[in-house]
């Protein structure tokens, strides 16, 4: 295991039938970082999470967590990994007391205060079963259980699924504060990128069959911009610096990692007249669209 890398995925290759999801995928998660996995549907987010959790055997390659192959984690390593399953899956036949009692038996560092602090926010009857709770309430129970487990690594699969904005913000605030205060390592996916922006340090953006980008979010938002200028409808073919250009009624919009001055030079050289080119900063969601395209 590399220095301080909690997770290391090496040369992951996976196919569903003949369809290649990705080949030779490599990434690491250093200790104390919050890594967000972003990608359109079908790019392999769930596949990656499943391999990482040991619920999918890749065609080749391996994922190491704390130096152990994720397919065969020892009980001691499992104790260090908190897992949130997509949809905040938990046992619906238990109430909040029963489920806390159940999980506390498995984790020696159990911090019940962390769980009950979150439960206080829920306006529920203490005897109410999880099956009778809303999706948002269930998400708080699932998060509370993970925080009480006090794991070193948290893996959260689509945590915002089914949550209204209030619960999403609550979830992100609690998780973010906890992870940063305790220097926890987090691997998270969500289809709502606004939530990720407030939470993650690093982003890994997946496209079909490969990783498009893996860097700190701050670097992405500093380096990657949107540009607009008036154009005459010329083709951008061969201009590698120009990503996903769209021209509507003489107004062109595109994305690029290049500086404005360099783009002006390149565009002028290619026959454009970018006299009114404007640079715009992006949110993470806009950067994601800029990198992956709208469709």
């Amino acid at each position: 295991m590399g220095t301080n890398n909690i997770v290391e995925c090496k040369n992951l290759t996976h196919f569903y039938g003949k369809r290649c999801i990705y080949e030779n995928l490599n990434f690491e998660i250093p200790q104390g970082r919050i890594l967000g996995l972003l990608g359109k549907n079908g790019t392999g987010k769930t596949t990656t999470i499943n391999i990482l959790n040991g619920y999918l055997k890749p065609r080749s390659g391996e994922c190491l967590m704390f130096g152990e192959n994720s397919a065969n984690l020892s009980p001691a390593t499992k104790q260090k990994v908190g897992l949130l399953i997509e949809g905040h899956v938990q046992y619906p036949f238990m109430n909040i007391y029963e489920i806390e009692k159940y999980y506390s038996a498995f984790y020696p560092k159990w911090k019940k205060e962390a769980y009950w602090e979150l439960m206080k926010l829920l306006k529920i009857d203490p005897k109410q079963k999880l099956s009778q709770m809303s999706c948002g309430q269930k998400s708080q129970v699932a998060l509370g259980l993970i925080l009480a487990q006090d794991p070193e690594l948290l893996i959260l699969d689509d945590f915002s699924m089914g949550l209204d904005p209030g619960y999403r913000v609550l979830f992100v605030d609690y998780l973010s504060e906890y992870a940063r205060a305790e220097s926890k390592t987090v691997f998270v996916t969500s289809h709502i990128i606004q939530d990720m922006e407030r939470l993650i340090d690093d982003c890994m953006i997946m496209d079909y069959g490969r990783i498009l980008y893996q860097q700190p979010v701050e670097k992405l938002l500093n380096d990657f911009k949107r540009f607009r200028f008036s154009s005459n409808g010329q083709s951008f073919e061969g201009l590698e610096q120009v990503m996903h250009p769209v021209t509507i009624k003489g107004k062109t919009e595109f994305y690029s990692f290049e500086k404005k001055e360099e783009l002006e030079r390149v565009l002028t050289y290619s026959g454009f007249k970018p006299t009114d080119i404007k640079e715009e900063s992006l949110t993470l969601e806009e950067a994601f669209i800029g990198l992956t395209g709208k469709y």
Binding site: Y55, P75, Y91, F93
Partner: protein, 222 residues
């Protein structure tokens, strides 16, 4: 940890567990009352004629109880685990995965054993009071395949529920139906006397099926 896992199984299935326990007791009481009535109305001579000459088995109402209870308990225990792939929660617990499945099995087999033992004790006491020793032994040999079939049914339900591949689910179900059918081929008392050990062998062979299903689930087979 083990106790906590058994507690979870109890929370999940206690309604079914208590229901099958109560139904088991009611069934035994019904059989005893019915036979008691026959003793009084038709007399022991007539009953003896039915048992010896017509080869009728007095406890035949028990026949499908073991597989019905095993089916219900197995479904109550394993079906919730496959909804939303909830079994992932159990497999992620800091215990060896085989031990987790073994503990789940132990709970189900343990509950069935208790329910079956209650019936067996009631039957032994009732038969011991009313019939000769040979009849009681004969009765035990007759019901043995039904109860072994109960345990086999439970193991098959676990394997079918935990199996991630639909085609394999269907194949295991067909195999289960075919195998369990063999346990009910004859109504003649003690008909399986000479092959009861083969039924136990079948039980042992079905035991690992659930573990194979979990292994396939872990590999992400679909």
């Amino acid at each position: 940890m083990e106790k906590a896992l058994l507690y979870k199984e109890w929370k999940k299935t206690h309604v079914f567990t208590l229901t099958i326990g109560v139904i088991g007791i009611i069934l035994m009481v019904y059989i005893m009352l019915k036979l008691g009535r026959s003793f009084r109305m038709a007399g022991m001579e007539h009953l003896w004629d039915v048992i010896v000459n017509r080869k009728q088995f007095l406890f035949r109402n028990l026949k499908y109880f073991p597989i019905a209870t095993a089916l219900c308990l197995g479904m109550a225990q394993y079906f919730p685990e496959v909804i939303q792939k909830r079994i992932k929660l159990s497999l992620h617990l800091p215990l060896p995965e085989k031990k987790v499945i073994l503990l789940m099995y132990s709970y189900g087999v343990g509950i069935l054993t208790i329910v079956y033992l209650l019936q067996l004790i009631a039957l032994l006491v009732f038969s011991g009071i009313n019939f000769p020793y040979e009849f009681t032994i004969n009765a035990l040999l007759t019901i043995a395949p039904w109860y072994i079939a109960g345990f086999i049914t439970y193991l098959f339900v676990a394997a079918i529920c935990l199996e991630p591949v639909w085609m394999r689910r269907i194949l295991i179900t067909l195999l289960a139906i075919a195998l369990i059918y063999l346990f009910f081929l004859s109504d003649v008392p003690a008909a399986y006397q000479s092959v009861n050990y083969l039924l136990v062998v079948a039980l042992v062979m079905v035991f690992p099926f659930g573990f194979y299903s979990v292994q396939r689930f872990k590999e992400g087979k679909q």
